[in-house]
């Protein structure tokens, strides 16, 4: 027996799971992590809904939650490049790290796209993904990221320049 909330939540999964996954994967450049974060996103949103809250626009809310998780993850990644205790714990001592693990990136569906996108600076990449893959208008992107629409437009512009210079010229 499912409540209406559960049904609409699961429908939101069916409808948006791919999009949210794609959004995260393209921003982080890591398919495996994107899967996890996508799931975390839905779990978090469910927690919120099951607490009796209502959400006006579930899609936007999902993106916002995903965005928070991405920001957290990115911050944690940065943290790890500074030798953190957590890192040491994971490495079991001070052994020099093995070759960087790129396996996750290699079996990606859109193989050509990922490395190019990852070579673009994060803030520019984020707005490109939101604008041209997720299809958000600049205003919404501004709201999602908490920056001004002007900044978004500037970043889209710069991002496109960067992207254009990295694409092989085709006739």
């Amino acid at each position: 027996m499912k409540t209406a909330t559960e049904q609409s939540f699961l429908k939101a999964y069916d409808d948006y799971a791919d999009a949210i996954f794609r959004h995260i994967a393209l921003r982080l450049g890591d398919r495996e992590q994107a899967r996890e974060l996508m799931q975390d996103t839905y779990m978090k949103v469910w927690q919120y809904l099951s607490g009796g809250k209502t959400v006006e626009n579930l899609r936007a809310f999902l993106y916002r939650t995903a965005n928070n998780l991405i920001v957290d993850t990115a911050r944690r990644r940065k943290l790890r490049t500074v030798e953190s205790l957590e890192q040491m714990h994971e490495d079991h001592g001070f052994d020099p790290p093995a070759e960087e693990d790129t396996s996750a990136i290699t079996h990606i569906d859109a193989e050509r796209v990922m490395p190019i996108l990852q070579s673009i600076d994060e803030p520019l990449r984020d707005v490109l993904v939101m604008r041209y893959v997720d299809g958000f208008p600049p205003k919404e992107i501004a709201k999602l990221l908490g920056i001004s629409a002007n900044v978004v437009s500037v970043r889209i512009h710069r991002g496109m320049e960067a992207l254009r210079s990295r694409l092989p010229h085709e006739a």
Partner: protein, 388 residues
């Protein structure tokens, strides 16, 4: 939207990225299981006391949450992992010099070399060490305060550039969103109360006087940003009060907690004190202190009154409270003539105020609020000590 063909193909390829059907189905099953099993309902009392909230939370999320680890776990895994002795002594040296760096980094501003250490290392570290959910919430508020202070210090040194502002704004937005999105069992009152405290502080910044600074466009943009976030917080408080107590009334969400005068007056402490003379932490404490003055004298009376005369007591005490606050504040602050009182928060219709559960909720909120402010004061003093 004109894209040249190469770019269009690129984004088409990017958009083709998706989960495989089996991945998607498997995760859906997991979600369904999560919904069925993780459906833990707390009673209102448990919620109110915030008791066991963390335990329940952790029970509901046993593995996935790598962000929480206890100091014990950390030490345990550290001592029992294969750490060579030499490296261990090296670590002690690193930690020792780290402490020096850390204390220096506490006062760093965006653009300083140590700012990264402060924001990306020290603050997350501190956040992880805090186990008590109430302290966590207070720490979130504190972080926003720290950002606000940074912006002000930058402005005073004429160093508030767009990129620095961007950094600070993003960080504030993140914290505000996290507070907004916090799940209910994190302690509803704590979340509401902390957002109320935050709202006031932001109000103080956004409505502050800026004499010489008026000309500076960055500063103006910064203030309008703070104002925007403040209204986000205000909305969130309203929403949460509505779901928690069924109060859909702007006046009610402001009545216990936000005295109007502080909202509409410039707060001299925050805006005028040069950062060099006074430790950053004391400056921002000022508006909160002023706030507290109003709470203290009338609270006990109110409680007694409320018990005696339920119905009318509520209105009466709310009004008393408000008037006390007004008188007290007027003595302290000269409301500037050009500052406009916020119309949407003005108390007009109190018909909803008498709603069931409101009174209890308000009392609890007030309590939690004091708690938050106490925590905040603790956090501020700690910060000051570290900075020296």
């Amino acid at each position: 939207m004109k894209l040249d063909p190469a770019l269009r193909r690129f984004f088409e390829e990017a958009s083709s990225l998706r989960l495989t059907n089996s991945e998607k189905a498997a995760m859906r099953r997991e979600l369904e299981a999560h919904i069925a099993l993780g459906d833990v309902h707390l009673t209102a009392d448990e919620l109110a006391e915030g008791k066991d909230a963390l335990v329940t939370y952790m029970r509901a999320h046993p593995v996935n949450d790598s962000a929480r680890f206890t100091v014990f776990e950390l030490l345990h895994s550290f001592f029992f992992s294969r750490v060579p002795a030499l490296a261990f002594s090296a670590l002690i040296v690193v930690i020792g010099s780290g402490a020096v760096v850390a204390s220096a980094a506490e006062g760093a501003l965006p653009g300083d070399a140590l700012y990264g250490v402060k924001v990306d290392f020290l603050e997350p570290l501190r956040e992880r060490i805090i186990q008590n959910p109430e302290k966590r919430v207070a720490w979130k508020v504190r972080k926003v305060e720290r950002r606000l202070m940074e912006a002000q210090s930058l402005q005073e040194r004429d160093r508030l550039t767009e990129s620095h502002r961007d950094v600070i704004e993003q960080s504030i937005t993140r914290e505000v969103r996290e507070l907004q999105d916090s799940a209910r069992w994190d302690g509803e009152e704590m979340i509401i109360a902390s957002q109320q405290v935050l709202e006031e502080t932001m109000e103080a910044v956004a409505s502050g006087d800026d004499d010489k600074a008026t000309a500076h466009p960055e500063w103006r943009q910064w203030k309008s940003f703070v104002r925007e976030r403040q209204s986000d917080v205000h909305r969130s408080v309203r929403e949460r009060m509505k779901t928690a107590y069924g109060i859909d009334d702007d006046a009610a969400s402001a009545s216990v907690v936000v005295p109007k005068l502080i909202q509409s007056s410039p707060v001299p402490a925050l805006m005028a004190v040069p950062a060099a003379d006074v430790p950053a932490d004391t400056a921002i404490a000022a508006p909160v202190k002023m706030m507290r003055v109003k709470d203290v004298p009338s609270e006990e009376d109110n409680q007694r009154e409320n018990e005696n005369r339920r119905e009318e007591g509520v209105e009466e005490s709310v009004r008393n409270d408000r008037e006390n606050g007004r008188r007290e504040s007027e003595e302290r602050l000269q409301p500037s003539p050009e500052s406009e009182p916020l119309q949407d928060i003005a108390p007009q219709d109190r018909s909803d105020v008498r709603k069931q559960g409101h009174e209890d909720g308000m009392e609890r909120l007030k309590e939690k609020r004091e708690h938050i402010e106490k925590e905040l004061r603790g956090l501020r003093t700690k910060g000051e000590l570290q900075a020296r």
